[in-house]
């Protein structure tokens, strides 16, 4: 026999017949448990309402909390984004304003510098006019002197001519000294102007020596005072040496932020050039300042009273 035949026969196994009365016995012995629905109802009634609904309420509360948290966070994120946009726009304007302000400051500084240069230039022009006027006076004096000599020769009066000659010589010497003083002031003015130009190009620091200003000074002749007979001017900057300068350079490498510090001084006339480019006359009874040494620098100090004791107006 094979497996299939065996299985077929096994499935045909006869079923024993149950004895009579077994069914009735079994049916009479049925003892069903209490009704599940009734028990369930009782359990429901005995359970407190809050306890029965606690899982659902907990879930609902957590769900609502999450929704509220998400909404609040979304709102905050939106506000932060708006704030970022506003700040970003303001930052761009700020950068533009900074650039404009820096440019304005630069232009204002240049304008002030230009105004100062114009003022210096006007003063220089005035000095030049004075120099030209003095030259005319000298020429007129020369002319008068020539006429006087002609008159003396024509009249042949030695006694009178001698007296006139002396007074004329004194007048001529005074005029010449005055012209040299004015010329010296003009030189100091040009030196101060050149030093300021050099400082403007070099971060507000004055040059260390005369030779450094060769580009700013038109000629080395301005470094020799006409009253200094022992020195001669160099013909060019290539031939410039210590013997070709009359003035004392008093503020090498100084700052242009200290306008009252002396920049240069003429030992012949006593004129001083200050760091702000101005020149103060140091000759005669009209001297209105004194010089004090402060931190190793010679500082121009105006006097409250005149040397003779009378107050200044």
């Amino acid at each position: 026999m094979n497996d299939e035949q065996i299985e077929t026969l096994l499935r045909k196994a006869p079923r024993p017949v149950a004895p009579a009365g077994l069914l009735e016995t079994l049916q009479s012995n049925i003892a069903l448990p209490p009704r599940a629905e009734t028990a369930r109802v009782n359990r429901t009634e005995t359970t407190p309402l809050l306890r029965r609904w606690f899982p659902a309420i907990s879930f609902a509360v957590i769900f609502l909390s999450c929704i509220v948290a998400i909404a609040v966070q979304t709102n905050q994120i939106a506000e932060l984004n708006r704030g970022n946009e506003t700040l970003r726009g303001a930052t761009q304007n700020l950068e533009q304003l900074r650039r404009d302000n820096a440019e304005y400051q630069k232009l204002q500084a240049e304008h002030q510098e230009l105004e100062r240069l114009r003022k210096d230039f006007a003063e220089l022009q005035q000095l030049r006019a004075e120099v030209a006027q003095l030259r005319e006076q000298i020429q007129e004096t020369e002319k008068l002197r020539a006429q006087n000599q002609q008159l003396l020769a024509a009249n042949n009066q030695p006694a009178q001519s001698t007296g006139n000659d002396d007074s004329f010589a004194r007048f001529e010497a005074d005029a010449r000294a005055e012209a040299e003083s004015v010329y010296c002031i003009n030189n100091l003015k040009q030196i101060g102007l050149a030093a300021r130009i050099w400082a403007t190009d070099n971060g507000g620091v004055y040059p260390p020596n005369w030779l450094s200003m060769s580009n700013e000074l038109s000629t080395p002749k301005v470094l020799v005072c006409r009253g200094d007979k022992g020195r001669t001017a160099a013909r060019s900057w290539n031939e410039f040496g210590p013997g070709n300068v009359s003035y004392e350079f008093l503020n090498p490498n100084g700052s242009d932020k200290t306008p009252m510090v002396l920049l240069a001084r003429c030992p012949i006339h006593g004129h001083v050039g200050l760091s702000d480019g101005s020149v103060q006359s140091g000759s005669g009874l009209g001297r209105t300042f004194t010089i004090i040494v402060k931190d190793g620098k010679q500082v121009y100090t105006p006097l409250n009273k005149r040397p003779d004791g009378s107050p200044y107006e």
Partner: protein, 184 residues
């Protein structure tokens, strides 16, 4: 039938006595027949059948519907039988006369006398199998449960059921093909 049994089970669980009676009438013969094949007399089989249905009613609310009612019922019957075997003597093998008498009670399923004779010997060989293998043969072939239902009723893996059936068929085939058996 399975859906009908499930409906009756639900109604019985709700306290419907008629549904419970109908459930009994549907399944008591199968359960009695199973016990009768395993036991040596009608009284023990009837007693085990009553115990089985008593446990069914007390456990009806714990029926989780993970299996069919038939499978669940056979599982209870199996445990009842095991408990009974533990406290009583080992089951005696059914005699050939019993099988003959049993087969003569109704219309014969066999085609001829030779087949009936072969079947009678085959059933007798089944009763000599080991307990675990014999229970599997009873449930799967005699009671008509599927492999999965048999495994659920016995509480073992389906693969174990298959293994035991294969083992039973090997034994039965080898013994039915012996010359001595064929000569009988």
């Amino acid at each position: 039938m399975s859906d009908h049994a499930e409906t009756l089970c639900d109604r019985a669980g709700a306290g419907d006595l008629e549904a419970a009676s109908e459930l009994v009438s549907l399944y008591y013969e199968r359960i009695f027949a199973w016990f009768r094949r395993l036991c040596s007399n009608d009284d023990d089989a009837a007693d085990l059948t009553q115990r089985t249905f008593f446990k069914v009613w007390t456990s009806l609310n714990s029926f989780q519907r993970r299996s069919t009612f038939s499978t669940w019922l056979h599982g209870i019957a199996h445990h009842v039988y095991v408990d009974w075997r533990r406290t009583n003597r080992p089951a005696e093998a059914q005699t050939d006369e019993w099988w003959e008498a049993c087969a003569a009670n109704g219309p014969s399923p066999f085609e001829d006398a030779a087949e009936r004779d072969t079947a009678r010997r085959l059933f007798a060989l089944v009763e000599r199998l080991e307990d675990g293998v014999r229970e599997v043969v009873h449930l799967h072939y005699y009671q008509g449960l599927s492999l999965s239902e048999t495994s659920e009723a016995l509480g073992i893996a389906t693969s174990t059921v298959k293994y035991r059936l294969r083992e039973a068929l090997d034994v039965l085939r080898s013994q039915t093909n012996e010359p001595k058996l064929r000569a009988v």
